[in-house]
């Protein structure tokens, strides 16, 4: 590790056979780039011979190896086609100074200590349940302590009620607390804020668009609920149309939809997977994926966040050892191996290393489950998510899952893939068997948005929105780097986590920003690692340059006030011109 340069990056590494075999293999990081990303040169890897701009290339050695393999055995097609798809991923996960880490840890202990102290001194202001003497407690002591004496003190930063569209701007219902956040009172005032918190990536939440008109029309025509499950009389024309459009949009054969994104994961994974399968999951996967995996009863292994090498290592060892607990050391291979990843990770802002993972999946004959909840609509040239962003073939991904809650400003989720897969799901998914069908206006809104994105409405409004979002993202992230804030994730991801580390700074930040009419989201333990408290900004195509400039000015002010400029990367001081940003 000593060879790492002062700004200690966790930049992505290539899959490399040799590196895998030799764990102590040394990496060299050199030539810092002005925008804070570093060039990666690895003594053993192929990329040494090629000239790359900076960052990380996605033509990996294994990919090549796979192709060679294919050439040898299958007389495969040309290399060239494949190599055209190279994409440079610029991402950064700058580490804080040791002192920041120590302070964070210390502050957490102080917080816990104060919590215990106040628990001893002040009884909780909640009524006990009546007539429950002698009953065991309903939930454990620690969680009630944590929620009442640690979380409560910052409770005002979350669950802020709104009373308008969650568009580019949002109206918060002002509330105050007179008893240290035990209870809140509404002041009757409203506060119009710039909305950096909602997942409204493409700005379709605004009800002025044609999609919402269509939704209202369908509310009158079809009612608000079909009152039945998809399998038994709950399916109407809208559902069928939506599924067709979704499949067409994604470039796959068929798709199936459900009324809730969370349930799409938790109800379908168990239908597809049985015990005896191996599930390899990214450590930052969403709760719904984890729940689905748990319900399936299969074995789950976790790999380090977005670390393709770790994934490969797990794949190799697991194929080597097979299913555990076999009699007499017999070798019993796993029935199926699944890799579970997300497109954009909502807390890290990182984009999955899809081409490498596809290469691995092919090499080790695993299946790939991709959750595009945050990425669908938000990235890619035509808004088709990470698959589009990397120019991969959607057919390489066995199960494409996504939600309509974010970019589509609606609700629900889909699973897309081959005709056979979807037919299987229609029959066996718990979601279509037991759960209510999607509400017609919700369905109509998605259909409307899909039509705009695909240009079927005869305009290029969809394309404009996608480009605006990409431009906003680049602008905002680069400006943040200039200010000197530490952000996580990939340059093109509209989810921007800004690291503040200390627990109390999260609250401080969110409160000050709300005071200054900016609504952001703070995330701390347990949703993130203890030492990596952050606030998160979700950009939207609805934001104008003025919005962003205002937000950046405020962020800079807050950063100065409470000391957030932790970044030690060299800064590019050239002013960034919004209109001239090149989109890739």
């Amino acid at each position: 590790m000593a060879t790492r340069t002062s700004g200690d990056f966790a930049i992505t590494e290539l899959i490399n056979e040799d590196a895998f075999q030799n764990r102590s293999h040394k990496k060299e990081y050199s030539s810092l780039y002005q925008n804070g990303y570093s060039k990666h040169s690895d003594t053993n890897s192929l990329c040494k011979q090629k000239k790359y701009l900076n960052g990380h290339t996605l033509t990996s050695s294994s990919d090549e190896e796979y192709l060679n393999f294919k050439d040898k055995y299958l007389n495969g097609t040309s290399h060239n086609k494949h190599f055209k798809k190279e994409k440079v991923l610029k991402e950064s996960f700058e580490k804080p100074l040791l002192i920041t880490t120590l302070l964070t840890l210390l502050s957490f202990y102080v917080l816990m200590f104060l919590g215990y102290l106040s628990q001893a001194l002040f009884p909780p202001k909640v009524l006990k349940q009546r007539n429950r003497e002698g009953y065991p407690r309903l939930y454990d002591k620690f969680s009630s302590f944590y929620s009442r004496y640690v979380y409560r003190r910052v409770r005002d930063c979350w669950n802020y009620p709104i009373c308008s569209v969650p568009g580019a701007e949002v109206v918060l219902k002002d509330r105050i607390t007179k008893d240290h956040c035990w209870t809140f009172e509404f002041t009757g005032l409203e506060r119009k804020c710039l909305n950096l918190g909602s997942y409204n990536y493409l700005g379709f939440a605004d009800p002025k668009s044609s999609c919402t008109e269509f939704a209202i029309e369908c509310a009158h025509k079809y009612g608000l609920s079909t009152g039945a499950t998809r399998q038994q009389y709950g399916t109407n024309e809208l559902h069928v149309e939506l599924e067709k459009l979704t499949a067409e949009f994604l470039g796959v054969e068929d798709a199936i939809t459900f009324g809730m994104g969370f349930a799409t994961n938790s109800l379908n994974i168990p239908a597809l997977i049985s015990p005896g399968c191996l599930l390899i999951s990214d450590e930052r996967n969403h709760a719904s994926l984890i729940l689905g995996m748990r319900l399936s009863g299969a074995t789950v292994k976790v790999f380090r966040h977005n670390d393709v090498k770790d994934l490969e290592k797990i794949l190799r060892t697991q194929i080597y050892y097979g299913q555990p607990n076999q009699p007499k050391e017999q070798h019993k291979p796993w029935k199926k191996i699944f890799i579970f990843v997300e497109g954009i990770y909502s807390m890290e802002g990182s984009i999955v290393h899809l081409p490498q993972i596809i290469a691995l999946k092919k090499k080790y004959k695993a299946y790939l489950y991709l959750d595009e909840a945050h990425s669908i609509g938000a990235i890619g040239k035509s808004g088709k998510g990470v698959v589009d962003y990397f120019g991969c073939d959607p057919k390489d991904i066995d199960i494409l899952m996504g939600t309509y809650t974010k970019s589509f400003a609606s609700a629900g989720g889909y699973i897309a893939g081959s005709k056979k897969l979807i037919r299987f799901l229609r029959e066996h998914s718990y979601g279509s068997k037991y759960a209510c069908a999607m509400s017609p206006p919700v369905t109509a809104q998605i259909i409307g948005v899909l039509k705009v994105l695909m240009g079927k409405d005869g305009t290029n409004l969809g394309k404009t929105r996608i480009e605006t979002l990409a431009r906003n993202t680049q602008y905002f992230r680069r400006r943040l780097a200039q200010i000197g804030l530490i952000t996580y994730g990939c340059e093109d991801s509209p989810v921007v986590p800004i690291l503040v580390y200390l627990y109390s700074k999260i609250a401080m930040c969110v409160r000050t920003l709300i005071q200054n009419n900016i609504a952001t989201v703070g995330v701390g333990y347990p949703a993130t690692p203890l030492l990596e408290g952050r606030i998160r900004v979700c950009l939207s195509a609805g934001h104008t340059k003025e919005h962003l400039d205002y937000a950046l000015d405020m962020l800079e002010k807050v950063a100065d006030d409470i000391g957030l400029k932790h970044s030690r990367l060299p800064r590019d001081t050239k002013p960034i011109e919004y209109e001239k940003i090149e989109l890739n």
Partner: protein, 433 residues
């Protein structure tokens, strides 16, 4: 300052544990692992042949056959008993207008989970209205009926706990048990003696630790049978064995009881003795979503630890608005519960008069479950009867040998008459075959 000392220890304790664990972890890492044999590995990679993604043998139907579309209700004589529409709220045009206003104000989706600017004021209104309607302290709103039950259960039940539940419990609850990983003991359907026996057996074993909770989970009206749970007896048992009781009122909320407050009102049970009531907006309220109500101290816990609540976007505002409208009607016009009951009883009596059918459901239940008297070939027979009824424009749910029909307040005598004659005819055709 005894507590203080204890608390100080509590803080230092974890630190020591963490230290010990780290040392242990580091020392473990140094141990050399069993070597991987490269050749064998490569061979295994080459020869590894996974099973296909899906089990093709399990595909039985075409898309068209598996997803039965909603019937066209504008055709005269069409009787759709497949959808849940007790108070005809699904066809209420006032509701649609309210929804339109709401969509214009808030948009369609909420674009975020409750914690992250997804709490719209109509959510808060609906939560307080639900709590008020049920006369309990607090309620919490979910965006999907199915996830309500499973998430709410797994927020409380832990691996070390034991759950006693009816064998006919819904699939959603069973998923909740799975997620919670608790030990589950099923008792015979609505058989309180069996439950007591199981409890006694369990106590006798004496395996239980003091800390562990015992849960009793039942449904108000069972979705698979249409029967009502014997709540008074269950409450006695709860008291005696100190069980925590959760009632799933997905179907019974807004149906049973003089003022529609569900199975507790029906039996005159004090609701504060029930730990939590889970319900669905997809039943009598004619919307989509679900809720849990109970004492604040209980419900509050879900806001931080229920997966379906924390990690999913909130309910679209217009769907909450619809539920508020429905509650308005419930509160201003409690007579409709009596009306529904009259129809339920009427339909039940008529169905019981049929010679070829057995009625399983309770007379008061708006969900009627019937099956053939003969047990042989029940599955085929019901399928045939179902087909005959469908051809006559009467739509019901065919659930593996049982027919399920949902009574609605708009059914008039001629509709019931038509239903009965068709069922009779179908039975005759079926017996001829």
């Amino acid at each position: 300052m005894d507590t203080f000392k204890e608390n100080a220890l509590n803080t230092i304790g974890p630190a020591i544990i963490v230290l010990v664990c780290t040392v242990f972890y580091l020392s473990k890492k140094k141990q050399p692992k069993k070597e991987i044999n490269e050749e064998l590995l490569n061979e295994r990679i080459l020869t590894y042949k996974p099973e296909p993604l899906i089990d093709y043998s399990k595909i039985h139907y075409d898309n068209k056959d598996i997803e039965i579309p909603a019937p066209d209700e504008s055709i005269p004589g069409c009787l759709n008993l497949a959808k849940v529409n007790y108070f005809n709220f699904l066809n209420n045009h006032e509701f649609r207008k309210e929804a339109e206003v709401c969509i214009k104000k808030y948009g369609v989706g909420s674009c975020g989970p409750r914690g992250f600017y997804g709490t719209v004021d109509v959510h808060l209104t609906l939560e307080s209205r639900l709590a008020k309607f049920l006369q309990m302290e607090e309620s919490v709103l979910y965006s999907y009926g199915f996830s309500t039950i499973s998430s709410a259960i797994s927020a409380y039940c832990k691996k070390s706990d034991i759950i006693f539940c009816d064998e006919k419990i819904s699939f959603a609850a069973a998923q909740g048990f799975l997620a919670a990983k608790s030990q589950v003991v099923y008792f015979k359907h609505n058989d309180t003696n069996d439950l007591e026996e199981k409890l006694k057996e369990y106590e006798k074993k004496g395996k239980h630790k003091k800390r562990m909770s015992k849960f009793l989970i039942v449904e108000g009206i069972y979705a698979s049978t249409g029967t009502i749970c014997p709540l008074p007896k269950l409450m006695e048992i709860r008291e005696k064995y100190k069980l925590r009781i959760f009632i799933d009122e997905s179907l019974s909320f807004g149906v049973l009881g003089k003022e529609g407050r569900g199975v507790t009102e029906h039996f005159g049970i004090d609701r504060s003795d029930v730990d939590m009531i889970m319900g669905s907006l997809e039943g009598s309220l004619g919307s989509i979503g679900g809720f849990g109500v109970g004492a604040s101290i209980v419900v509050e816990h879900q806001r931080l630890s229920s997966l379906g609540y924390c990690f999913s976007a909130s309910l679209p505002p217009f769907l909450s608005q619809v539920a508020v409208c429905a509650l308005d009607i419930f509160e201003n016009n409690p007579g409709i519960f009596g009306e529904l009951e009259t129809i339920c009883v009427k339909v039940d009596r008529q169905l019981r008069s049929l010679e070829h059918y057995n009625v399983i459901s309770d007379p008061l239940s708006p969900l009627k479950v019937i099956t053939t008297k003969e047990v042989d070939n029940r599955f085929e027979k019901i399928t045939l009867i179902h087909r005959v009824c469908t051809s006559k424009n009467i739509y019901m749910v065919n659930a593996d040998g049982y027919l399920k029909l949902n009574v609605s307040i708009v059914l008039d005598d001629s509709d019931i008459e038509k239903l009965l004659t068709t069922l009779k005819e179908a039975a005759l055709i079926c017996n001829d075959n």
